[in-house]
């Protein structure tokens, strides 16, 4: 199983990657939306993407919109990881094509629950 983590903060990126590795998920990293589009094209079969909202070069929303325009990624779960909790922000994320969102800061258990909702996490994987 392979995930792409898109986050401009190297600290938060490291934490999210650590969470995923603890769930035995391989991780590819990107520091902004543009870099993430490049990484995504290099990945053979990505299973999910965790994406931040506020990033330089290309934001998380712009990234999600760009991915959803590429029909081959239609089934790919895009999880917005954001400090923005107001409903209007979350509505914007879902309208752009996010599959789910998770509030920052999040714990390993909270992330595991979200992946479970998508049927992406089982102990055996």
């Amino acid at each position: 199983m392979q995930a792409l983590v898109v986050e401009d903060s190297s600290t938060i990126r490291k934490i999210l990657c650590q969470y995923l590795r603890k769930m035995n998920i391989n991780v590819v990293e990107a520091a902004n939306g543009q870099e993430a589009l490049d990484r995504l094209k290099e990945m053979s079969a990505p299973d999910l993407v965790l994406v931040d909202w506020n990033m330089p070069v290309m934001s998380g929303i712009e990234f999600i919109q760009a991915v959803r325009e590429l029909k081959i990624y239609d089934p790919l779960p895009l999880i917005m990881v954001t400090t923005n909790s107001e409903s209007e922000y979350l509505g914007t994320a879902m309208d752009a094509g996010a599959t789910l969102y998770i509030q920052k800061p999040c714990t390993l258990d909270a992330l595991r629950e979200k992946l479970d909702l998508l049927g992406l996490f089982t102990e055996s994987k």
Binding site: D8, T11, P105
Partner: protein, 129 residues
């Protein structure tokens, strides 16, 4: 080094880099006080620091960054106009961030120093019409 110590070290290094960026852009803002681009960049760097504090439990630094972020949102969105008092307060915020990062680097904790006066100043400036 434990995983957590490595992450805290990463946070300190990233925070110092962001503090340098913020200071540099605040100095540029003194010459271009209306630059939304500069304000957006300063906001993003403060936001990044605040975001990481939440994961690491550095609540004092998080509260300080949050107050700065609230002021910066209003500046970025054109609801407030940048002036010298605001720039000075934001430069004081940078100093405080550096100070707390230095304490975290040495002790792993945020330290005892109280930043209530700075938080009150940033909050007052953020509320000004």
């Amino acid at each position: 080094m434990t995983e957590m110590e490595a992450i805290v070290l990463e946070f300190v290094e990233e925070g110092k880099e962001k503090a340098d960026n913020i200071e540099h852009r605040l100095i540029q803002l003194e010459k271009q006080p209306g630059s939304r681009e500069l304000l957006a960049e300063v906001f993003r760097d403060v936001h990044t620091i605040k975001g990481a504090t939440g994961f690491l439990g550095f609540t004092k630094l998080g509260a300080l960054a949050h107050t700065g972020e609230t002021l910066l949102v209003r500046l970025r969105d054109g609801l407030l106009v940048t002036n010298q008092e605001i720039i000075s307060a934001l430069l004081a915020l940078v100093d405080a961030i550096r100070e707390m990062l230095s304490v975290i680097e040495t002790t792993g904790k945020e330290g005892e120093r109280d930043y209530a006066a700075l938080i009150a100043t940033l909050a007052r400036l953020g509320k000004a019409a």
